[in-house]
């Protein structure tokens, strides 16, 4: 395979080099203009390690009208990702080796990103009986992240057992923290606004109380815990406390919780209906701060495609979720980089190295040094673009950013040394 040269690129925004790639690896940082091989012009653009998403819903099998592993992979590649975790709440549920292997093979066939299936913690996401976690770990899909996402592993005994059991194969339980009794019928963040709009509230304490319980369980059992889509200031505090105690907990935040607030619910447009719900401006600030100081380890999209009819209806009938793979990096640039909360090394850590480490994803998140796997995202941070759902690769159009101007355009992406995106288009 001939060498590729990313000409004049600035790794993490530093001085320009020619990044030379061969045999799926970064082999040289040559002086700009001097690298030898097939040239991809990246003059002045910023190189980041290929992004890794810990949390996406690719909907296949079962909801192929909303997304497939192929279209989800395309959206991911265009968003700068080189690895994506596919959540288990498919139909059938990814609670057996057979289903996770199927999803993994579909990812291999698409060939655009590493599709890492997430296994369900419990059979059918029902929260009662452990799924065959070991079989999924030992399968061709090598599952390491287990989650009932969409449902909380609520039974404290089942949660304890799951946390303990996956230690045998270095797995992690990724908890969707939502106290079910406190969120019966919940429609939006519990706030002054929910009272005014007459929508049943989803109180912050329903998230925080589960996280508090889980970090104590993880501490007690010496297990590893990952918290999905942290959405409240109180959750950040609990996780900060747990980390200070030495508990092995990691956490993710979604791009939309870094930028959108519950004020958007005022118009009852279900595009803004998501679980956990959009919170207050104070929560948004606390999440940004938590991501900046490392309390929150990773940005994860919670990309949740839905067919048109699931959003083209009244609020309470609508599905929860919004797509996010193609806008994630832009939102992080707007909310974290431009305000000075994260530099480009920080972005590389929160969107590549940390999620790869949490998910035990081999060959990803290795950075841009010589010898690292050639997973590279090249971004033009100054370019602005207008989010247009009709132009997105995702099969669904439920983006909350339609018509919004976003900074940062993904220009080129290399996955395992092969271009998947060139000049902003699928290669």
């Amino acid at each position: 395979m001939a060498a590729l040269v990313l000409r004049g690129v600035r790794p993490y925004g530093e001085a320009p080099v020619d990044l030379v790639v061969a045999e799926g690896q970064i082999v040289e940082h040559a002086q700009a203009g001097r690298g030898y091989g097939e040239v991809i012009d990246a003059d002045g653009l910023i190189a980041l390690p290929g992004l890794v998403d810990l949390h996406a819903h690719l909907r296949e099998p079962g909801k192929e009208d909303a997304e497939t592993v192929l279209t989800g992979s395309q959206a991911a590649a265009l968003g700068g990702f080189t690895a994506v975790h596919a959540m288990a709440n498919t139909d059938p549920v990814a609670d057996t080796a057979g289903v996770v292997e199927q999803v993994w093979r579909l990812g291999q066939r698409a060939g655009l990103v590493d599709v890492r299936p997430v296994g369900a913690v419990t059979v059918g996401l029902a929260g009662r009986q452990l799924a065959e976690l070991g079989a999924m770990a030992a399968s061709a899909a090598s599952v390491r992240v287990f989650s009932d996402d969409g449902q909380c592993v609520f039974d404290p005994l089942v949660m304890r057992r799951a946390l303990e059991y996956v230690r045998a194969f270095d797995g992690v339980i990724a908890q969707h923290a939502q106290e079910p009794r406190l969120t019966e019928g919940a429609q939006m963040n519990e706030s002054v606004l929910s009272g005014q709009l007459g929508l049943t509230g989803w109180p912050a304490v329903a998230e925080e109380s589960i996280i508090a319980r889980d970090v104590l369980l993880a501490g007690h059992t010496g297990s590893r815990l990952h918290v999905c889509h942290v959405s409240t200031a109180g959750s950040v505090e609990v996780i900060r406390w747990a980390k200070a105690r030495g508990i092995d907990v990691t956490a993710e935040v979604t791009p939309h919780h870094l930028v959108l607030t519950d004020e958007l619910v005022r118009g009852y447009d279900p595009l803004f209906k998501v679980n956990p719900p959009l919170r207050s401006a104070e929560d948004v600030q606390a999440l940004r701060q938590g991501l900046a100081d490392g309390t929150i380890d990773a940005v994860a999209t919670d990309h949740a495609p839905h067919a048109k009819e699931a959003k083209d209806c009244e609020w309470s009938a609508a599905a929860f979720g919004m797509i996010g793979l193609e806008t994630a990096l832009s939102v992080v640039i707007e909310t974290m980089v431009f305000p000075g909360l994260l530099d480009w090394h920080g972005v590389g850590d929160r969107m590549s190295a940390s999620p790869a480490r949490i998910g035990r994803v081999h060959g990803q998140g290795q950075g841009l040094d010589v010898g690292a796997g050639a997973n590279v995202c090249i971004v033009d941070p100054q370019a602005r673009w207008e989010a247009d759902p009709a132009l997105m690769a995702s099969k669904s159009q439920n983006t909350p950013y339609a018509g919004r101007s976003l900074p940062g355009k993904v220009v080129h992406v290399l996955h395992a040394g092969r271009p998947t995106v060139l000049d902003g288009r699928l290669a």
Binding site: V192, Q196, L199, D312, E314
Partner: protein
């Protein structure tokens, strides 16, 4: 004004105008021939996703007295029961030429969605949505208070009103707080803390957890229906305890000011939030509320539709403006 979705859609002068207009229609209601030709040729659809005979027939009568054609579209026994979406139902009504859709829906915000999603071009009137609002109920309540306590003119400045009961789940309370405040009244919400909404401190009213504390200082007291099933969700221990602490009985009635009136949006749970003695007393104005409901809804239909030409004259004159 194009739609009536929330009591907050009405400014002070508009709300007074609705009541003044209703007052004029009230004089017609006393005639032998009660019908006006105002909305002849216009079509009003009552789109009811919840059973509510009293609200539906009130709107139906109001539209008919203005000579509009009225279609009752009940979710039960229609294609809705088979799972047709709100959107498809709306498109159907639009294709049939509805000038106004009066909607009752269990989902908060459904009328807002109907008005602003671009599905229909006619006016939307919220006849109660989920636990959100019921603006025409607030208008008829305000009208009833104005007639009984304020000489039937102007606004409600200085009037002291208590709203008692399940505020949390009450669309009537939300609309009343907004409208009564607009009209200058002082509102106190009375309920056990479990039945007050989160963030109620930010509402333009006071709150109290003790009915006995407010009885002596109100001109009107509105008792809300409390479903005894709420005790299954631990909102209160038993219906008996609720009634003891928050029910309006004869002894509490005796402590009201002499001129104070008792309202209830109905249907009443006699023996729960209101005793039969109170419900049947001369202080209770529930029958007036029903009478006033018709003329207030006539006024709303007239002001939304009468001022605009028939829809086929200006089909795209003013498409909904999205919020």
């Amino acid at each position: 004004m194009r739609h009536l979705l929330s009591a907050a859609d009405l400014g002070h002068d508009e709300a007074v105008m609705v009541m003044d207009t209703a007052s004029q229609f009230g004089s017609i209601a006393d005639r032998t021939v009660k019908k006006l030709p105002t909305l002849r040729g216009r079509t009003v659809v009552n789109l009811f996703y919840e059973d509510s005979t009293r609200t539906r027939i009130s709107f139906e009568l109001a539209a008919k007295r203005l000579s509009a054609d009225v279609i009752n579209f009940a979710a039960k026994g229609s294609s809705v029961a088979k799972g047709e979406s709100l959107k498809d139902t709306a498109l159907t009504l639009e294709a049939m030429g509805a000038d106004a859709v009066v909607i009752r829906h269990g989902s908060s915000g459904a009328p807002h969605r109907l008005a602003h999603a671009g599905w229909i071009s006619g006016s939307v009137i919220n006849a109660g949505d989920g636990t959100h609002e019921h603006p025409t109920q607030a208008l008829l309540d305000a009208y009833t208070m104005r007639k009984a306590l304020c000489g039937g003119k102007g606004d409600l400045a200085g009037l002291r009103v208590a709203i008692v009961g399940d505020i949390l789940h009450s669309r009537v309370a939300r609309s009343n707080v907004l409208l009564l405040r607009t009209l200058g009244a002082d509102v106190t919400l009375v309920a056990p803390p479990t039945l007050l909404p989160h963030g109620v401190q930010a509402w333009p009213c006071r709150t109290s957890m003790h009915l006995d504390d407010v009885l002596g200082e109100v001109d009107a007291i509105m008792m809300l229906r409390v479903q005894s099933e709420r005790m299954q969700d631990s909102y209160f221990p038993t219906a008996h305890e609720y009634s003891q602490r928050y029910g309006l009985d004869a002894s509490r009635l005796a402590r009201l000011a002499d001129r104070a009136i008792v309202l209830h949006p109905g249907p009443m749970n006699r023996g729960m939030e209101i005793s039969a003695v109170v419900a049947d007393s001369g202080r209770a104005v529930m029958v007036d509320q029903v009478t006033n409901g018709v003329i207030v809804r006539m006024a709303v239909l007239y002001l939304l539709l009468g001022a605009r030409g028939p829809r086929d004259v200006r089909p795209d004159a003013d498409m909904p403006v999205s919020a």
